[in-house]
């Protein structure tokens, strides 16, 4: 099947029923979940993930992606109206969105958010479709050693991008890999670390781990947060004026979109990074006439124009190499694997139409975000009024039911609690949860590729670093070394050069 044929087949899949219906449901769910402070896309996606088990792979993945994209916009509702970002990525929107709301321009700010978010999401989806032929070439050049090294590189990058001690990040990633080895070994039928418990023979399901790390741990965090009352919020301003404002600043919009997509493509750097970078860049370049922090509309355009392109950008490493860029894409990757799809060559060769269907649905989803986003503005405050004490028990009930549904195994439900508590403390002590989750999700793939590489090389570890036989592996190994040790070697090198 040629790329063009796959593209048209992808279009047909994306616009067919019930796929388009799932996309609409996902977007609406995402907007609502994103608007609830403390919930956000990873929690919503983690809860919905086991419910997609009876569905076909394509609508399931499209549903999850739609939740992700919807939550990107939804997060801005609470950020603008009550100064409590629904998602971490909407934190930058509070800086000017909330002051705008205080200045009686809440409708303008919400309209700016939905227009900038949808417009750039729309453009980024087109860029993604145009970029895909190039991606196919790159992805097909990778073999087993490269995929193993990519998993290690992904974790290494995450430890750097998410900030904190590199060693802590590596420990978190290795811990994830380690937990993934529980259960029957991949290459031999030997049970590992089961300690005589039959329920552990299948290992800990990575979807249960995702539910624990994102849903349960988030509920623990949410319980500790103070409740913000959203009652009696007045939403003043003009929607039309808000939409016009976005088109008044085309450079800000496009520039922020490019920043969002570019950062989204870097494994480990989600929308939280991209929105702050876009905001910071706008504040720097418009410092002369800007009133940032006091309700400057460009302070809302920049982060909102960056957030949805980040979704498109993050699909690149997730689908092509299986390296997610954020918590949401980690759950999306979990969904891809759960439905028997393999990120990498298969998704860019035999199943290319699925990849294109996903890209097209991202494109269509942004049209819907604009329509829904603008029409719900007068009622937006209602969403933020939901009491967290009502949300927590319901999320826990859904988490348990979802985890049990995976394999009818009580150990999976137990894993939700155990890993939820672990995730809570990992966040508290500054360990990268994303690195840990990536380790669990990619563990079996990494182990399989690790052994396949050793089988190819006859047990020689040089296969991972041989510059002539495996130049790509060599480049990846050098990249891992530079990512891990570069920040420490750079000052020493500069010192040596300055002495000369």
């Amino acid at each position: 099947m040629s790329a063009l044929e796959a593209f048209f087949e992808g279009v047909v899949i994306a616009v067919s029923w019930p796929v388009i219906g799932y996309m609409a449901i996902g977007l609406l769910l995402g907007i609502v979940l994103g608007a609830l402070p403390g919930i956000g896309s990873p929690v919503g996606m983690a809860i919905v993930l086991p419910l997609t088990l009876p569905m076909d792979a394509t609508p399931a993945i499209i549903l999850l992606t739609a939740i992700y994209a919807g939550a990107m916009y939804g997060g801005s509702i609470a950020a603008i109206l009550i100064n409590a970002p629904g998602t971490e990525s909407a934190a930058a929107t509070t800086l000017d969105g909330y002051p705008m709301s205080k200045n009686g321009l809440a409708k303008n700010a919400l309209a700016i958010a939905s227009t900038a978010s949808a417009l750039n999401g729309f453009l980024a989806a087109i860029a993604l479709i145009l970029l895909s032929p190039l991606l196919i070439e790159v992805v097909l050049a990778f073999g087993s050693p490269e995929y193993f090294l990519l998993a290690v590189l992904g974790i290494s990058l995450i430890t750097i991008v998410t900030q904190g001690s590199i060693v802590k990040g590596l420990v978190a990633g290795a811990l994830g890999f380690m937990i993934s080895t529980i259960g029957t070994a991949i290459l031999t039928a030997r049970p590992r670390y089961t300690f005589g418990q039959f329920g552990l023979y299948d290992g800990i399901d990575f979807v249960a781990a995702l539910i624990g790390m994102f849903a349960f741990a988030e509920m623990m965090k949410l319980a500790a947060q103070k409740q913000i009352a959203g009652e009696d919020l007045e939403i003043a301003g003009s929607i039309r004026e808000g939409v016009r404002t976005v088109f008044r600043y085309p450079v800000t919009t496009i520039k922020s979109g490019i920043i969002g997509m570019g950062i989204g493509m870097v494994p480990g750097s989600g929308a939280t990074t991209s929105t702050f970078v876009a905001y910071a860049e706008e504040a720097r370049s418009s410092a002369k006439d800007g009133k940032f922090g006091e309700g400057d509309p460009r302070g809302v355009i920049a982060p909102e124009a960056a957030n949805n392109p980040t979704v498109s950008g993050s699909l690149v490493p997730t689908l092509s190499f299986g390296i997610p860029g954020s918590g949401s894409t980690a759950v999306l990757l979990g969904g891809i694997l759960m439905h028997g799809l393999q990120p990498g060559p298969v998704l860019f060769d035999e199943q290319l139409q699925i990849t294109y269907a996903l890209f097209v649905s991202v494109f269509l989803g942004n049209v819907l975000i604009l329509a829904v986003g603008l029409s719900i503005i007068p009622y937006a405050s209602k969403i933020t009024e939901l009491d967290t004490n009502v949300i927590i028990p319901m999320v826990i009930v859904l988490s348990y039911a979802g985890a049990f549904t995976l394999n009818r195994n009580w150990f999976d439900v137990g894993a939700v609690i155990a890993l939820g508590v672990l995730g809570f403390y990992m966040v508290r002590y500054n360990y990268s949860v994303i690195a840990f989750v990536l380790g669990i999700v990619l563990g079996p793939i990494a182990e399989e590729n690790f052994f396949r590489s050793l089988q190819i090389s006859g047990g020689e570890y040089r296969i991972f670093v041989h510059p002539i036989d495996r130049p790509l592996s060599f480049v990846l190994s050098v990249a891992i070394f530079l990512v891990l040790f570069g920040p420490f070697l750079k000052p020493k090198l500069e010192e040596v050069i300055s002495r000369r």
Binding site: P54, I82, N83, L95, Y98, I160, V161, Q163, S165, I166, V167, K168, V171, A174, L175, M178, T181, T188, R190, R192, Y193, F216, M219, A223, A224, K226, Q227, I228, A229, S269, T273, F276, Y279, A280, F292, G293, E294, N389, V390, I392, P393, M394, I396, V397, L398, Y400, A401, F404, T405, R408, W410, V413, I417, V421, M426, A446, E447, F450, F451, F488
Partner: protein, 195 residues
């Protein structure tokens, strides 16, 4: 946390040796366990390490640090007006009687009790008690609390009916014979929905 990770690393490293796992099943988990073991060990003794190693272990590095510093400046320079008047203190039944219970601990303890009770008696039967207890503890209105309990039961029933999950059966108590046949109400709802 570090001691826990260190012990876990030791267990995962030693277990294949004691149980004599074949090489195919041993190498990868031992490599990852070694990484956890060495990493958590280094973090445990970081204050006693020599200069360069200490800086590698303890220093926090980020390729986005320059931007983050800028973000911090922006946030601290002109913070949005805080909205303290909207912050609502959580009231609980416990605090009414002078018992201050940590909210996070409350979530975990009730979730663990719910898990074991669900395992013993079946999630379907235990869930309404859990939802009602949790919400009433935080003084959610009784009608809302009951509605949520019914909603949670309805969700579990959908899991039972369409995915075949045995949520009505516990490992200690089996209340499944008491489960009403909710399907008989479906035509009524469908008819009602069609009006």
């Amino acid at each position: 946390m570090l001691v826990f990770l260190f012990v876990l690393g030791v267990v995962f490293f030693v277990e294949p040796l004691i149980e004599e796992y074949p090489e195919d099943a041993r190498v990868f988990p031992q490599l990852t366990a070694a990484a956890v073991l060495v990493g958590s060990g280094l973090l445990l003794v970081r204050n006693y390490l020599p200069g360069p190693i200490r800086s590698f272990v303890a220093e926090e590095v980020s390729i986005t640090s320059d931007t983050t510093e800028l973000d911090d400046d922006l946030e601290t320079a002109e913070p949005p007006e805080s909205d303290e008047e909207r912050v609502v203190e959580k009231e609980t039944i416990g605090s009414e009687y002078g018992y201050e219970v940590n909210d996070t601990a409350f979530v975990v303890v009730t979730a663990i009790v719910y898990f074991f009770a669900g395992w013993a008696a079946g999630f379907f039967w235990v869930t309404p008690f859990y939802v009602v207890f949790y919400t009433l503890w935080y003084k959610v209105r009784v009608t809302k609390s009951v509605f949520l309990a019914v909603l949670a039961m309805a969700i579990l029933w959908v899991f039972m009916e369409f995915l075949g999950m045995p949520f009505d059966q516990g490992h200690v108590f089996d209340f499944s014979p008491f489960l009403p046949d909710f399907r008989q109400f479906l035509p009524f709802f469908l008819e009602w929905g069609g009006r």
